[in-house]
C-alpha cells in the first residue's frame, strides 16, 4: 500500500446559497481544490462525490457523473458515495484506498449538499431518513430529538451540565465568526443564551435539554480535496499533508439496541484504528475537528477518542482545555455548529480545515501554533457509522 497525500484542498463559504445549484457548489469547491493542487490542465483519474440527499432534495441522482461532465474531467472514473452525514469521510476513504492500492494516481474527492431550498422541517425530516425506519422514524424521531434524549442520558450518567454545553456553543461560534467559510458568523454570549431571563426567547428549547444554540444550522455548501501518492509528490505547489491513519466502525442502526446508548463505540473504534495506523496516541494530536452537530457530541466524542476520560469532556470544555491555545483545540473552524453542516460536505470540510491548519494557512486568530498532526471525526447516523482520519504535516 502506498502512502497517500492530500495535495489540494478547497471549499466555498457555507451558508444559504440561493444563487447556486448543488452542481455549482460542487464545481466551485472542486476547482478550488484542483487549483490548490496546482494540477493545471491535468485531469484526475477518478472522482468520488459525497452527497446524502440530492435524490430527495433536488430530485437529482448520478451526481458524480454530472460533476465530471461539468468540469470536463472525462474520462475519469466517477462514483457517488452516500453514507448519511458521514458521506464526506467515506468518499475520502474510497479515494484513499484507490490511491493507496496503486490503481489511481490522482483522485478528486468532493462533498456537497444543498439543504436550504426546502423548509427547515423538510430538511429535518430528510436527515431523519437515516434513522431506523421501523424502530425510530415511524415514531417521529428526528436527529434533534435523538440528540436530546442522548444528552439527557449523558447528563444523568456523567454530570454534563447546561453550562458546559453553552461553553461549547459560545466557543465554536466565536471561532466561526473568525472563519470566512463559516455559515454562522455571530458571536454569542453566555448571558444572552443562558443567564439572562431573556434567554428563554433567544435560545428556546429545541429538544430538551438541548436548545437552539446547541444545534448546528441547516446549510448549503461544498468542499473538496485532491489525493495522490506521497512518493509522486514532487515540487508540489503546497506542502502535502499525509493521511497517516484512518479508521471506520459501525454500530447498531437503532440506538435503543445498544447496551449503553451513551457509549459511542464506533467513535472509539474508528479513532483507535486511525491512531494505530498513524502510530500516534490521542495526546499527539494538535488540532481536532469533531462532529458537533449538537454540542453534546463534541463533549462525548472528545471523551470517546481518548482526549479526556469519560465524564471529563464537559469539565474540560468548561475549563477552556478545548479552545484555541488549550490542551487540545477542538473545532477551531467553528465546527458544524458554526461553519455549518451541509451533510454531504461536512466530512470533506473537516479534512480541508485540518489540511489548512497543518499547512499553517489559516488566519492567526484561528491558527493552532505549530500544528503537525490533526484528527477528524465524521459521525454518521447517530454514531452507527463513524470515520476517523489522522493527518500529518510532511516536512519537506
Amino acid at each position: 500500500m502506498r502512502d497517500v497525500a492530500i495535495i489540494g484542498a478547497g471549499m466555498i463559504p457555507f451558508g444559504r446559497r440561493d444563487e447556486d445549484s448543488l452542481m455549482d457548489m460542487l464545481a466551485y469547491a472542486s476547482l478550488n481544490a484542483l487549483d490548490d493542487a496546482g494540477l493545471g490542465d491535468k485531469s484526475v483519474d477518478a472522482v468520488y462525490v459525497a452527497n446524502m440527499g440530492a435524490g430527495i432534495l433536488q430530485h437529482q441522482t448520478a451526481i458524480a457523473s454530472a460533476l465530471v461532465d461539468r468540469l470536463s474531467l472525462f474520462p475519469a472514473a466517477a462514483d457517488m458515495v452516500e453514507n448519511g452525514p458521514a458521506s464526506g469521510a467515506s468518499a475520502i476513504k474510497n479515494g484513499l484506498l484507490a490511491v493507496a492500492s496503486g490503481y489511481y494516481d490522482a483522485v478528486l474527492v468532493a462533498g456537497g449538499e444543498k439543504m436550504r431550498e426546502v423548509t427547515g422541517w423538510r430538511a429535518t425530516d430528510f436527515v431523519a431518513t437515516l434513522t431506523h425506519p421501523l424502530a425510530e422514524y415511524i415514531y417521529g424521531v428526528t436527529l434533534p430529538g435523538m440528540a436530546g434524549m442522548f444528552t439527557q442520558l449523558y447528563m444523568e450518567k456523567y454530570g454534563v451540565t447546561r453550562e458546559q454545553l453553552v461553553q461549547v456553543a459560545t466557543k465554536n461560534q466565536k471561532m466561526g465568526a473568525l472563519n470566512p467559510y463559516a455559515h454562522v458568523e455571530m458571536v454569542i454570549t453566555r448571558e444572552g443564551i443562558l443567564d439572562s431571563p431573556h434567554a428563554i426567547v433567544n435560545n428556546p428549547p429545541v429538544a430538551e435539554p438541548l436548545h437552539l444554540y446547541d444545534a448546528c444550522p441547516v446549510s448549503d455548501g461544498a468542499a473538496a480535496v485532491v489525493l495522490c501518492p506521497l512518493d509522486m509528490v514532487k515540487n508540489a505547489k503546497k506542502r502535502p499533508i499525509l493521511i497517516a491513519g484512518f479508521g471506520q466502525a459501525t454500530d447498531t442502526h437503532a440506538l435503543q439496541e445498544r447496551e449503553d446508548p451513551t457509549d459511542l463505540k464506533a467513535v472509539t473504534l474508528a479513532a483507535k484504528q486511525a491512531f494505530a495506523m498513524a502510530k500516534v496516541e490521542p495526546g499527539d494530536i494538535d488540532v481536532a475537528e469533531l462532529h458537533d452537530a449538537f454540542t453534546i457530541l463534541e463533549i462525548a466524542e472528545s471523551e470517546h477518542v481518548g482526549f479526556f476520560k469519560k465524564g471529563e469532556g464537559g469539565k474540560a470544555a468548561a475549563a477552556g482545555k478545548t479552545q484555541l491555545g488549550g490542551q487540545i483545540p477542538i473545532n477551531v473552524s467553528g465546527g458544524l455548529k458554526a461553519r455549518g453542516h451541509p451533510v454531504g460536505a461536512t466530512g470533506v470540510a473537516q479534512v480541508v480545515e485540518i489540511v489548512w491548519q497543518l499547512r499553517h494557512e489559516v488566519s492567526k486568530e484561528r491558527q493552532v501554533k505549530n500544528a503537525k498532526t490533526g484528527l477528524t471525526i465524521n459521525f454518521g447516523g447517530f454514531g452507527n457509522n463513524v470515520l476517523a482520519f489522522v493527518l500529518r504535516r510532511v516536512d519537506q
Binding site: P13, F14, G15, R16, R17, D18, E19, T119, G120, H183, V184, E185, M186, V187, I188, T189, E191, G192, I193, S196, P197, H198, A199, I200, V201, N202, N203, P204, Y213
Partner: protein, 230 residues
C-alpha cells in the same frame, strides 16, 4: 406639500385614545441590548428610510412585507390609517426592526407587519411579542387578528403562539388565512415568548430617543440577506 386643512378635516379619520406602550430592554443572544419602544408619527420619515431597501428584496418575502409596511407607515403619517401605532427595536440607537398594528375597535387589534433588519438574533420574535403585549396588556384588547405573508412569520406566530384559525372573519391584509390571538392564548405563551425589563436604564433610553439611526442601503440589504448573502 401643501395641505388643505379644511379638506383634511373631512379626509382624516377620527382616532381613539391609545394607551402608550412603555419601553423595555432585552438582552440578545450576542449580549447586546435591544431597546423596544413606541415611536410617534413624527418618526415615520426616518423609518421609511429603513424600510426602503427591503422593497426589492425577494428573500423570505421581504419585498411584500416591506412594500406593505412602507404603505402603512406612510398612511399613518398622512393620517389615512386609523388608530395605528408603531414599535421599533434599536441597538445603540440603530434601527434593527419595526412592527406595527392598529386598533380595529376597542376589543379587536389588528397585527399588521413585522420587519427585522438585523437577523439571526430573534429580533423579529421579540418585536412581534412586544406588539402582542401592547394589544393585550396596554391597549386592553380581547383579541388580535393576525395573518402571515412569509413562512418564517407562519412558524413564528401561528405555530409558536398556537393561534386559532378563524374562518368567520377576513384579516384586512387580504384573503390570506386569518388567525387570532386571544387573551388566554397570549397569557399561556407569555412566559416563554414575551420578555423584557422595565424601566429602561436612562442612558440606554437616551441613546435610543436621541436619534433613530438608519444604516445605509447596502448595509441593510446585507443584514437582511446575511453576510455575503448567506
Amino acid at each position: 406639500m401643501a395641505i388643505d386643512m379644511e379638506l383634511e378635516a373631512v379626509l382624516r379619520a377620527p382616532e381613539v385614545y391609545q394607551a402608550p406602550y412603555p419601553p423595555k430592554v432585552i438582552t440578545l443572544a450576542n449580549g447586546k441590548r435591544l431597546v423596544v419602544r413606541e415611536v410617534s408619527r413624527r418618526d415615520v420619515p426616518v423609518l421609511l428610510e429603513g424600510v426602503r431597501p427591503a422593497l426589492t428584496i425577494e428573500r423570505d418575502y421581504y419585498d411584500i412585507v416591506g412594500v406593505r409596511l412602507y404603505a402603512e407607515l406612510l398612511g399613518w403619517y398622512r393620517y389615512r390609517v386609523r388608530n395605528e401605532y408603531c414599535i421599533i427595536g434599536q441597538i445603540d440607537g440603530m434601527l434593527v426592526g419595526i412592527v406595527n398594528g392598529r386598533m380595529m375597535n376597542e376589543d379587536i387589534g389588528i397585527s399588521l407587519h413585522t420587519l427585522a433588519i438585523d437577523r439571526g438574533l430573534r429580533i423579529g420574535a421579540h418585536l412581534f411579542a412586544a406588539k402582542m403585549e401592547h394589544h393585550i396588556e396596554y391597549l386592553g384588547q380581547k383579541e388580535v387578528w393576525i395573518t402571515a405573508e412569509s413562512p418564517i412569520g407562519f412558524r413564528r406566530w401561528m405555530i409558536e403562539y398556537g393561534l386559532e384559525k378563524q374562518t368567520d372573519y377576513q384579516h384586512e391584509l387580504g384573503g390570506a388565512t386569518s388567525y387570532r390571538l386571544t387573551r388566554e392564548l397570549y397569557f399561556a405563551a407569555k412566559p416563554r415568548l414575551v420578555v423584557g425589563d422595565r424601566p429602561v436604564p436612562k442612558e440606554l433610553l437616551d441613546v435610543a430617543t436621541r436619534a433613530i439611526i438608519v444604516a445605509d442601503e447596502d448595509t441593510i440589504t446585507q443584514k437582511i440577506c446575511g453576510l455575503k448573502g448567506r
